[in-house]
Symmetry: D2
Subunit: 133 residues, 4 copies
């Protein structure tokens, strides 16, 4: 599990006075990026090598509303990490009291610059598995 700590930005709120639901996927992404960093994988490096990592499926269940200025904890857990896909589970918690705000899941695949599905090179797969084990 990889933890990321963030603070809710004013721009992330909407006219209902709470965080707009689309922003949780941006938080999940921050958790995923940090997980990859801890595996020694930089997205910039992947793109430079011609490897893209489009999202194919996402879901989120919202339990309570994040509010402006909340400190939040983003927990990222690997569910399936192979040469053809990365599935991660997420929890978003309010730091002040540990209240669970949302849970979610995302799936990425790997493609070349033309959008054709490819396998992630073994070296990267091994790095991913080293973190998750």
């Amino acid at each position: 599990m990889v933890a990321v700590h963030e603070k809710v930005r004013f721009v992330e709120t909407d006219a209902m006075g709470v965080v707009h639901h689309s922003n949780y996927f941006r938080w999940f992404e921050m958790g995923r990026v940090e997980f990859l960093r801890q595996a020694g994988i930089s997205l910039n490096e992947l793109i430079a090598e011609g490897i893209l990592f489009p999202i194919t499926n996402v879901e989120c269940k919202y339990r309570a509303s994040a509010k402006f200025d909340d400190h939040i904890l983003i927990e990222t857990l690997p569910a399936e990490l192979t040469a053809v896909k990365m599935i991660f589970n997420y929890k978003i918690m309010r730091e002040a009291d540990g209240l669970l705000l949302a849970t979610g899941q995302t799936q990425n695949v790997f493609t070349n610059m033309q959008g054709k599905i490819i396998k992630l090179p073994t070296d990267y797969v091994n790095k991913l598995k080293a973190v998750s084990s």
Copy 2:
């Protein structure tokens, strides 16, 4: 089914050269808002009456990448419209050739300004059902 036509904004793209996945939920929202408008329901009016409509669940499957300047079609179909929840299904298509870009689902519930679950007043439920039938 309610149709909304949009054009992909440059700001909606990311460094992979395609639309960032979080934006599809913003497009779904535009479809949902238009569905409600056709039902004679304005979100501004709901908020003014102290009725909020937080999202509780969302999911999206991405089939192909929307790109900058694509004309897209957002189709919104009601799945369940009651006094306690609204579930909508969505399709996003590329207008140029009808290519299916994504499908998704969202669920809203209704609360008062303090976040307590409430039932949507019958008058509004009837308006919603009138569109969907």
Copy 3:
């Protein structure tokens, strides 16, 4: 002058109940993109040719708040269009009553993919000038 018509999205609002100020630059961009389209210039085509168009200066004065569901008119006027820069002025108006919401200005320059300043090829400059004259 090039006109673009938009409708304010719910996600563009913030907890003050009005549109977040950063979104006006996204609207200016939509006006600028449309101006270029009317000049026969596609940003996708520029990028494909290795020409980038980074923003170097922006400013905006806000006169009145755009609100969710407002229909807005984005007017884009060229101020200086040369091989080394594009300066545009903008007005955002509320369609319902013509109320001026904001005015602004942006400046783009042109670079290659490595970020080095370049001159826009004459063919493109001529296309730009044809619209503005």
Copy 4:
């Protein structure tokens, strides 16, 4: 001067491979919010008291492009803090080498919930001045 440290999010990039210019105003806002926090002023508290703080003018000069995963430093300096307006200046720097990425300025005024200009209560003005002196 108040310093905020941030990391560039993937979603903040666009198809030119760098951060979209509109995001710098979201970073300025994070600096401003932190300045107010250090003054003992919470935006949630202001809103709860019926005090809004709309932006009336902004500008930004971009010197170099922020890129995904850059660590950035947001410096916020008060320029004019009175009962009728707050003007702040900003610098955004890349942490790795101190490169100046952008400078900017914003002006807020104060209004009641109906959008009418008001004076910020003296207690708040004093708190602001205590930080800036």
